[in-house]
Each structure stands twice: as structure tokens, then as C-alpha cells.
């Protein structure tokens, strides 16, 4: 194995390069990134960077690192397709880059609303640095923002724009913010937070048309509302950028990889947001978390160096909205019991999501330790006693994987 080509230049891709060098790999490493800038951390784009508190992106590694570590970085270069039989990646323009091992880390793109007016100036979305810069520029002198969708991106953008002094109205299809992730009960806690900060929220409605004379002026909704604003930001989910993986790699809502992050094609791996991996506890999942992208980069580098390691990280992510800190670990799409430790009303709590007694996921708001301390229980598919989970005096680290208190 003398040449590793990494398609993508985000968190997962850059971490792969870093971990390969840290692991002693002395072959060629090439990063091919469609964006024209070095790898950076995306989370601040909806927070500190959007609010103008940080002028520069947070680089994953300083620019010198790539040169000092002989990592070739080809920026502003789109990989057209991976040709498995020929062992080459074809770039736009036709150049072919040979590889011995290829790692696909192309990430996701924002879903676009297929409705009239979506191309109007002033209708924006957020994924990359230029998007965040465009929103920053658009809100200068603006007084009102309309946000479509209230998942994490919509909620964080709403918070940041409120903090910049704009009036904010959000239109969300579900009955609460983040309902698909958190369920309605916890979603209402997020709703209350935003309401207290003056965000106007309209639920069970959806965007039908953006209007404006050469520039965004109003959003018309399916329920017949007309919401005026100076700028609109759309956050309605993402889709994996699978195209560069080529014809031979199995794809189904992401590039399918096994527990060691291998695709079905020898010498081709996939990681990060684009990869739907076979998780030993959660089954086949694709997530869009900073932390998971980083850890997959570490795992794939170790496996490229021969470790044959299973990626069994229990997943963890955070969100900052106003001065509130939110975290979540694990993975749950359905649960039949929610156990609260702390106080939802006081916005200081952990919520444990269980299905048939098994801990799947933990959500926390301004509750520092238990989201992470529950991760070994999630990894062990533990069935902890709800009374112990609810008791703040019980240290989760003292619970056995069976969920019993340690004696």
C-alpha cells in the first residue's frame, strides 16, 4: 500500500490523513477537496462564525502541517468518479489519480426545496464557509429573518440570528423543533427555549413559495401564511454525496460500509457523513456528527495500517443555542420510555431514551457529565434501572453494563 487517495477534504478526510501520519504511514497521501479551502471544522459556521465572533474558519490543522507531513492537498477539485477496476479516481477535466487504497469522505449536500423562488437572492442555506459568509453579509442592516426547518441547523441559526438582534420567524413541518430526533416532549423544551428568546415559531406548516421583486421579500406557506423578511435561511436536511464513489460501490442512503468501514469493493473505504455503516449496536446507520466523522477517520487510518478494527463508537454530538449547551449520545429512532434526571423546566437535565428497558440514547441540556457517562451503557446495550437513571446522586460510571448498581 503506497498511495492512499482520500476523496473529500472535510473533518473525516483530514483526520484520516493526520491519523495515517501519526500511525507511521510513509506512503503517499492525497486529499481531493471540492471546496477551495483547507479542511476546517464546520460546527462554528452556525454559531461563533455566523455571529461574527470568529473571523476565520477553525482549521483542522494549520496550513504548514500538510507540507511538513507531505500530504498532498488538491483543493477546488471535484472528483468525478472512482473507477474501481482501473484503480484510479477521475477528476473533473479528466485527469486520473491512481490509488492503492481510496477513502471516500465526500460528506453531504443540503437538500434543496423544489419550490418557486428558491433561487432568489436572499434565500440562503448553510453548509460551507461561503454560505456562512453570505448569511453574515445578508444580515447586516437586515431586521427580519425567516427560517425554514427547525432541526439542529435551523435551531442554531435561529439562535445566532436572534443574538445578532434580528427578528426571527421559523416555519417547521413537524409539531416541535427537532421532533424527529428528540420526540415531542423534549422538542417542546427546545421550543420553550427559543420562545423565551423571542423566536416566533410556526409548526405543522411548510414553505410553498419564496416571493420577491429580484430579491427575497416573503415566504408563502402551504397553510396560506405570508411571512415577510429581509433574508431567508433554509435548513431542511441533507443528502449524501455518493456520486464520486462510482458505479461499483453499493449505495443506499449513503455509501454502504461494513463495521470496519470497507465498501464491497476491495481497497475502497467510506467514512463520515456519506457513509452508512454497520454498527454493532445500532445496526445500519448514517449520522452527520462532527465527532463521528473524526473517529471514523481515526478508525479507517488504523484499518488501512492493518488493524481490522470495528467502528463501534456510540456516537456523540453537541449543540449550542444561546447560552444553553445541548448534548446527545447514542442513536434512537423510536423509544417507549423517557427517564428524566434533573429538571426540564429549569433547563438542566439529562433525558434517557429507552426501548423495552434498553438504553438507546441520552440527551442533555446544561447537564454536564451524564450524556458521556452513559455511553458505555449504550455500547453495552444495557437495561439500566430507571430509578437509578433518574437519581442524580447515582454516578452512571458505577452502573454495570447490566444496569445494576455496582456493589
Amino acid at each position: 500500500m503506497s498511495r492512499v487517495v482520500i476523496i473529500g477534504a472535510g473533518m473525516a478526510a483530514a483526520t484520516t490523513a493526520v491519523s495515517l501520519r501519526d500511525g507511521g504511514f510513509d506512503g503517499q497521501v492525497t486529499l481531493i477537496g471540492a471546496e477551495p479551502v483547507l479542511p476546517y471544522e464546520r460546527p462554528p459556521l452556525s454559531k461563533e462564525f455566523l455571529r461574527g465572533e470568529e473571523a476565520e474558519p477553525r482549521w483542522v490543522r494549520p496550513p504548514d502541517w500538510y507540507r511538513d507531513n507531505a500530504v498532498e492537498v488538491r483543493l477546488g477539485t471535484r472528483a468525478e468518479r472512482l473507477m474501481a477496476a482501473e484503480r484510479v479516481v477521475e477528476l473533473e477535466g479528466g485527469e486520473r489519480v491512481p490509488f492503492d487504497q481510496a477513502v471516500v469522505a465526500t460528506g453531504v449536500r443540503n437538500r434543496r426545496l423544489p419550490i418557486p423562488g428558491v433561487d432568489l437572492p436572499g434565500v440562503l442555506d448553510l453548509r460551507a464557509v461561503p454560505d456562512a459568509e453570505a448569511i453574515r453579509a445578508a444580515v447586516v442592516g437586515a431586521s427580519k429573518a425567516v427560517i425554514v426547518g427547525m432541526g439542529f441547523i435551523g435551531a442554531e441559526v435561529a439562535a445566532s440570528l436572534r443574538q445578532r438582534g434580528l427578528d426571527v420567524t421559523v416555519v417547521e413541518f413537524f409539531a416541535t423543533p427537532l421532533e424527529r430526533v428528540l420526540g415531542p416532549e423534549l422538542g417542546r423544551a427546545i421550543e420553550a427555549l427559543h420562545r423565551d428568546h423571542g423566536v416566533e415559531m410556526i409548526f405543522r406548516d411548510a414553505a410553498e413559495r419564496f416571493e420577491g421583486d429580484g430579491r427575497f421579500e416573503a415566504l408563502l406557506t402551504k397553510e396560506g401564511r405570508r411571512i415577510e423578511g429581509d433574508v431567508a435561511v433554509v435548513g431542511v436536511g441533507v443528502e449524501p454525496m455518493v456520486e464520486a464513489a462510482g458505479q461499483d460501490v453499493p449505495i443506499d442512503n449513503g455509501i454502504l460500509v461494513d463495521a470496519t468501514l470497507r465498501t464491497g469493493v476491495e481497497g475502497v473505504w467510506a467514512i463520515g457523513d456519506v457513509a452508512r455503516h454497520d454498527h454493532p449496536v445500532f445496526g445500519s446507520v448514517r449520522v452527520e456528527h462532527f465527532d463521528n466523522a473524526m473517529r471514523m477517520g481515526e478508525t479507517v487510518a488504523r484499518n488501512l495500517l492493518g488493524a481490522d478494527e470495528i467502528h463501534d463508537d456510540p456516537h456523540w454530538f453537541w449543540s449550542d443555542q444561546y447560552d444553553e449547551q445541548v448534548q446527545m449520545s447514542g442513536f434512537a429512532t423510536a423509544w417507549d420510555q423517557t427517564v428524566i434526571r434533573g429538571s426540564v423546566e429549569d433547563r438542566s437535565f439529562a433525558a434517557f431514551l429507552l426501548q423495552e428497558g434498553r438504553l438507546l440514547s441520552t440527551f442533555g441540556m446544561n447537564w454536564r457529565y451524564d450524556v458521556r457517562r452513559s455511553m458505555p451503557l449504550i455500547s453495552a446495550a444495557a437495561h439500566p434501572d430507571p430509578a437509578l437513571l433518574a437519581d442524580p446522586d447515582v454516578d452512571l460510571r458505577d452502573l454495570q453494563p447490566s444496569g445494576e448498581a455496582r456493589t
Binding site: R58, V60, W316, R368, R372, R373
Partner: protein, 105 residues
């Protein structure tokens, strides 16, 4: 104005160990490096993670989340992704108590 605040008992933090204590509005991690106690903010300056639950190697604590490293004697970030330092606190053991010096602003 500064004030010593009791957070625990003398001898509670063993050598090579880090424990986390509530101290007023703050959560302070206290590390024992070869018998010397060092207090610092128990929250990584990068993202939402407890440094007390990380590993201590000499005077360097490594965040369990993203691997940022801080010198517990100064709070300085010595390895990224964190770039900002964490606050540090004076710690002493007196009259059988573990105490942290808090400054009110």
C-alpha cells in the same frame, strides 16, 4: 475579591488523579501531579467535554472528546483542536479541607 471555598476533603485527590468539584458557580477539576494540586475549569475550551474525565500525563491533561491537551499548571492549550486556554484556580489543603480560591468579579 478572592475567597477560599471548601470543595472536598484533604487527601481526596490521589496522585496522578483528577476529580471534579462544584465550587460556587464553577465546576473545577483538581489534578494531583506528584503531590502538587492544580485546579482548572472542568470544561474543555473547544467543545462540551469534561477534562476531569480525560487522562493526566505529567502536567498535561488530554480531553477525552477530541484530544485537546492543556497544561494544568497554566491552563494553556498545548495541542488542538482547542486554542483558547482554560481558567486555572489556586488549590490548597487546610484544616482537613480541600479548598479552591475563587475570585468574584
Amino acid at each position: 475579591m478572592s475567597q477560599w471555598v471548601k470543595v472536598g476533603s484533604a487527601g481526596e485527590v490521589g496522585e496522578g488523579e483528577i476529580l471534579s468539584f462544584g465550587a460556587g458557580e464553577r465546576q473545577v477539576a483538581i489534578a494531583n501531579v506528584e503531590g502538587d494540586l492544580h485546579g482548572f475549569d472542568d470544561w474543555c475550551s473547544h467543545q462540551q467535554c469534561s477534562l476531569a474525565e480525560g487522562d493526566l500525563d505529567g502536567t498535561i491533561v488530554e480531553c477525552p472528546c477530541h484530544g485537546s491537551q492543556f497544561d494544568v499548571t497554566s491552563g494553556e492549550a498545548v495541542q488542538g483542536p482547542a486554542t483558547d486556554p482554560v481558567d486555572v484556580f489556586e488549590v490548597r489543603e487546610q484544616d482537613g479541607e480541600l479548598q479552591v480560591l475563587l475570585t468574584q468579579e
